[in-house]
Amino acid sequence: MNDLQHHGRTVLVVDDEQSNRLLLRTLLGRDGYHVIEVENGEQALDAINTLQIDIILLDIQMPVMDGYTTASIIKQRVKRFIPIIFLTAKTDEASLVKCIEAGGDDFLIKPFNYLLLTAKLNSLLRIVSLYQDIEEKNRSIQQHNLQMMQEMNVTKKVFEKVSKNDMRGPHTGLKYAMSPMSMFNGDVIMAEKNQTSGLDLMIADFTGHGLSAAIGAIPIADVFHTMTRKCFLFTDVLAEANNKLIDLLPTQMFMAAVMLSVDRSNNILSVVNAGLPDVYLYRNNEIIRSFKSQNIPLGISKMSSSQFEVEMQPLEYGDRLYVFTDGVMEAANPQGEMFGRNRVLDAFSEDIPGDDLFDSILARCAEFSDGAEQTDDITLLELCHQPQVSYPHSAEFSNEVREPSNWSLQFDLDIKSLRQFDALPYIMQAVNNLQPLQSGRTRLHTILTEMFANALDHGLLKLDSSMKDSPQGYMAFYQEKQRRLEQADEGSINISLEHTLQEDGRGGRLTLTVVDSGDGYDYRALDLGNNNAYSGRGLKLVSSLCTEMKILGKGNVITALYDWQADLS
């Protein structure tokens, strides 16, 4: 059987004596080998360069180039394995040793026994087959690797398109470090400007590595950016991301994440930690608070947006927030020790200027691991709360141009709807589909948000807005709002929007009316010219943003007119 498989193999016979070559050609040819004959070493080298030679029978004493030289040149130059069998008349040990040292794989003493020759040929050709198998497999592995790298690059490009907002820089206060291919280790950072001109940030760490992690990251990035731009609350974004991951990921895969939301209007930070190491808040050279994970990672069990544990914290300018993935904690040194939380905390306890902290932590981690291979990716994020922020290109919304038209919408929300979800993103979405307001969108959103908050907080729930004067009060206000909302058993809010064309057809007037079922208040007694007359900052803001604002009824109806010009160029 083995002999059969060697049939058709090409044997190069190198011998200066014609009778020897003839003998070998006849015998080997009869057994099905393909035989090529040359007279000396130089011709042998030529033959190897131009023909597919499987094995060489090499004489030692030849003119031009002898066998030893030929063998050593072949072994040096030829990358693939071509066995060489020396055919020699010399029988002394030194000569035979020299055969092997020159690169021969075996030798036969002339006059040779043909049976022994074919046995040796077959044995060496079996090794050639093994070599070829291995080479073939190596080639195919290399090809697979190449293909995988290409696929990863494609995925990476898709991912970069989905999450193209790099918000890093001195103007945003955001710094983070990840390795260039880090998404294939399962770490992802997403950032988007929120309605208060603060940032909403999601830092995520998928179980698993490679493409499987990237596959989860792409839809999550899409959910995060799309929903945040559409003004959904970060808890709604988390709930949607969680649902999506439950649908998409196999049971054993999940995503640990931290969601940060900075409300710049009230200087309040909200943190949801679902499975990442502690998030630290650093102020005046020390860590003043850590936010521990209190939530199950995403993609494991169904959650509604109100089920996430949210922690809130008033922020001061200069505060710095630090988020790590466990790659930082688990970075190992060559001895297998882990960097660990204590070493992270040490970095904070030293007297390092705030601006250098981030680099200092990274440097410590790198110094500790001392070139040891990283098993997990290292992601570190710092967000500094600074007085001024501006964003590289504000994430504006799709500016579809539509001709102004006449339409109206009415939303009637009973207490259950008010409890269960935030209707505003849906209303904004509807408005944006009917009549994209181009640059006025953010302004309209603010008007609507403030009118709605006024109706809910003051009209319906009768909360005292003076509570919001201090950051601590704001949190108490928020908690009290949740409590009253849970307990209320009646109440409703009606929102109507009516759009009419302006006479020249180049713009429109949007009339927004928000009615709450509360008792109202004696607004006539208040001096509308006085800025403090309105309950809180909200309505003052509305009146400054719209063309005209009126309080009607018993104080439970507010109407705002918003005029806009179409830019149809």
């Binding site: 760490d205 179980t207 698993g208 049971t251 499975g275 209190q294 939530n295 199950i296 494991i300």
Partner: protein
């Protein structure tokens, strides 16, 4: 064996014991330990006393076991973990998904 399993005579509980590190390398051993076991209204005990480290793929394997147990109206209890392992379980809030201790 790095994973051993013992089913109680009354068929109401099965104890899976892990030795050494609980990480991705145990993927098939861990799965093989329970895949042929059927408990009805019983309890799977995962004994982590021989474990000093678990990684996120181990957490994933526990979720797979939970899925297996849920289908048999059975629960999963994690026992014998040391403080470090407890911290990893706490960070992932696994106390909300599994019986502990």
């Amino acid at each position: 064996m790095s994973v051993t399993v013992q089913v109680a005579d009354d068929n109401k509980s099965a104890t899976i014991k892990l030795h050494e590190r609980f990480d991705f390398s145990l993927h098939s051993d861990f799965r093989n330990a329970y895949k042929d076991i059927t408990l009805l209204d019983g309890e799977y005990l995962v004994d982590l006393s021989g474990t000093d480290y678990l990684d996120s793929s181990a957490l994933g394997m526990l979720l797979l076991l939970k899925e297996h147990a849920d289908a048999q109206l059975s629960s999963v209890r994690l026992v014998g973990f040391n403080d470090e392992v407890r911290e990893i379980l706490n960070i992932a809030s696994f106390d909300k998904l599994f019986q502990m201790g």
